[in-house]
């Protein structure tokens, strides 16, 4: 019976949001700090809309990872939203390909204020290995205003969480325009 097997596995697994010895001690303080910060800024939660503006899909692997059980982001009040209209933070990966330029601007324009833009990964911060070319606009800041840049190729899940924290705790966001 599937139900028995599932229950047995759940009991055996226990809670994994408990940190592993080396990397996680830092993470836990981060989680607590982040939680407190989000409560202060939003009173409840922060909604993130991710846009892949032309990445190699490496950064996406870490966005998926941060949604996994080790990181417990729901418990911290961080949620990924299905539409930019429901989002506080626009998380952008990749250099902005010219073929995505218009769509990225449209997603940004659709967001309610206050809004924050987080550029995730080397490509989003500087254009990375792809640079500016006939096909690439380079860094995200070339296309829309950016509040926080998270370096790394790709940034680790911890760095990603820290970047989101830096965005929402950093005073006034961008005004319209």
């Amino acid at each position: 019976m599937a139900a028995t097997l599932i229950l047995r596995k759940i009991f055996k697994t226990g809670f994994v949001s408990e940190p592993a010895p080396h990397a996680d001690a830092a993470l836990r303080t981060r989680e607590q700090a982040l939680h407190a910060e989000i409560l202060k800024v939003f009173g409840q939660a922060v909604a993130i809309r991710h846009v892949d503006a032309g990445s190699c899909n490496g950064c996406e692997l870490e966005i998926h990872a941060v949604n996994g059980p080790h990181y417990n982001i729901d418990g911290m009040g961080v949620k990924f939203a299905a539409s930019p209209r429901h989002a506080d933070v626009l998380l952008v990966t990749g250099p902005v390909s010219r073929n995505m330029e218009a769509s990225l601007k449209r997603a940004y324009d659709a967001m309610p204020e206050p809004r924050w833009v987080v550029a995730m990964g080397e490509c989003a911060c500087s254009g990375g290995m792809f640079g500016e070319s006939y096909a690439s606009c380079g860094k995200v800041a070339n296309v829309i205003p950016v509040d926080v840049e998270i370096p790394g190729c790709p940034p680790t899940p911890v760095a990603l969480l820290q970047g989101i924290l830096a965005a929402v705790s950093a005073g006034r966001p961008h005004a319209a325009g």
Binding site: G54, S55, N57, G58, L61, G68, H70, F80, A107, F130
Partner: protein, 514 residues
């Protein structure tokens, strides 16, 4: 090399890899002969060879009974054209259109001549991969251009347009569904949104930087691309790579396969409402990534495969740790498989959903893990092994159903096979150096690399200029062949099953948009 009744006078350029040049007409005949013996077209691309008074070149890589054959034809400098191959191998269609968009080389007689990679970033009469086109020209903004989707008309038919930005964390692409009620009558994908000029970027790069870029063609297949690129460069430069380095490359490739399969198995559970599956598999995947980071310094092994070998070694303590984790993950994946097997909703949603029958798969060239789930029994590690796979005896996973269930089954089988290979590699890793610097290249040369990545075969063709920099690199991701099959697989399914079917293929956008 013989195919059919003919000797095609191809030369061996390394194990299971062949090279030949012929007239365009003979290229067409070779394509037919390959098709007749049950082979496939893997990749097709163009080159601008006008530097020494020549014209353009068209290149194809065929999967044959003797291995991978890279065949080229010289084309005129003015109005370059070659005979259409898509009527023999339908998978050539989008590759031919991309070749036109980038180089202005036409497939004569092709039925579909719509643009593919060109959206509105450059004009119709501009060809960015031509050598006289600047990497970074002054860009004049152009308004959006409509794409002529094929329309389905009739009573009650309507269209659903999705993307390029999706509701979840997915790469950018546009899907146009024609539906009646919830049933899908037609799906047409419009890709190219992630086109960022990778092939042009390679030009003039040094060989080491090229490996870093190759690994970023599709980040989830980093080791596959980096290895295929290095194999191509090392073949071109006639370099010998230390044995231990080759074994470590295989270790990295299998680590990458396990990581991706674990993640996909979790998402497949999630897409049918089994959040338990997601949490469990992503817990295992995260343990795997952390181990990879602690042993090799990067969660996804970026930049660990370099021309001449690998950039990192493993010690005895690391071997024991990785082996222990591989065994634990194998045992846990078995427990989770029992849950998936016993779960009635999951089985109901997986079975007979997103079906690609073996005949259709053969006709359209479905490849890699999706191909093996539709009885296309090809796996380069088994049939055309490079070192160390020739000593590892890889057993291939195949299914015949061609549905979501079959693609999940292949992933389960491959997780276990890869974990077995990892333990085997760790136990038998030869001693010695992990890197031998390449001799400087002093004359123009070319090479081809071919690696069975987690998604399917990754091919990289390289031409190095006399000054030792990259003249032309073409990286090929197996998603090129498989995207059209996703469109066929969802026909007759309901729209809400699309995310599940899509995830069961998990194709790369970046890898084909380039």
């Amino acid at each position: 090399m013989r195919i059919g009744d003919h000797d095609w006078s191809l030369d061996a350029i390394g194990r299971h890899r062949w090279r030949g040049r012929m007239e365009p007409g003979r290229l067409l005949a070779l394509a037919r002969a390959v098709k007749d013996e049950g082979g496939q077209l893997v990749a097709l691309w163009g080159t601008d060879d006008r530097r020494d008074g020549a014209g353009f070149g068209i290149h194809a890589a065929f999967l044959t009974s003797a291995g991978l054959a890279w065949v080229s034809s010289a084309l005129a400098a003015d109005a370059p054209a070659y005979p259409d191959l898509a009527h023999i191998f339908p998978q050539a269609d989008r590759m031919q259109r991309a070749t036109y968009d980038l180089l202005g080389i036409r497939a004569e007689g092709a039925v579909d001549e719509r643009k593919w990679l060109r959206h509105n970033a450059w004009a119709e009469d501009e060809f960015p991969l031509r050598k006289d086109h600047a990497f970074r020209p002054a860009v004049s903004p152009r308004g959006p251009e409509a794409y002529p989707f094929i329309r389905v008309e009739g009573d009650g038919v309507h269209e659903i347009a999705v993307g390029p930005i999706h509701a979840g964390t997915i790469e950018p692409g546009h899907f146009r569904f024609s539906v009646i009620g919830d049933r899908i009558l037609k799906l047409e994908a419009r890709l190219g949104y992630a086109h960022k000029g990778i092939e042009k970027r390679f030009e003039g790069m040094d060989l080491a930087t090229g490996a870093r870029l190759a690994g970023r063609v599709s980040g989830d297949s980093h080791s596959a691309f980096a290895w295929a690129y290095c194999m191509a460069v090392e073949t071109a430069a006639a370099a010998t790579v230390p044995g231990r380095a080759l074994w470590l490359r295989a270790l990295f490739l299998e680590i990458e396969r396990v990581a991706n399969h674990l993640g996909d198995l979790g998402y497949l559970g999630n897409d049918v409402g089994l959040a338990f599956g997601f949490a469990q598999f992503w817990r295992l995947k995260e343990d795997w990534m952390r181990m990879t980071a602690s042993l090799f310094g990067h969660r996804y092994l970026f930049d660990r495969i370099v021309p001449g070998g690998v950039a990192v070694d493993i010690d005895d303590a690391g071997r024991a740790e990785l082996d222990a984790l591989a065994r634990r993950i194998g045992a846990e994946a078995r427990e989770l498989k029992a849950v998936y097997d016993e779960h009635p909703t999951l089985q109901d949603r997986f079975a007979d959903t997103g079906v690609c029958r073996p005949e259709l798969a053969a006709q359209l060239g479905l490849t890699g893990l999706a191909g093996r789930a539709s009885a296309q029994a090809w796996d380069a590690r088994t049939q055309f092994p490079q070192t160390p796979y020739d000593e590892l005896d890889v057993s291939m996973a195949t299914q015949r159903r061609g549905d979501v269930l079959a693609r999940a089954e292949v992933r389960f089988a491959e997780v276990h096979e890869s974990l077995r290979l990892i333990s085997d590699i760790l136990a038998r890793l030869p001693a010695g150096p992990v890197h031998a610097p390449l001799e400087p290249v002093r004359a123009a040369c070319e090479g081809l690399g071919w690696v069975e990545g987690w998604r399917g075969e990754v091919v990289v063709a390289v031409r190095i200029a006399a000054d030792g920099t990259l003249d032309r690199v073409h990286p090929h991701d197996p998603s090129w062949q498989n995207w059209p099959l996703l469109e066929m697989g969802v026909l007759g399914n309901i729209v809400p099953d699309f995310p599940l079917v899509n995830k069961s293929f998990n194709l790369s956008y970046s890898g084909t948009d380039l």
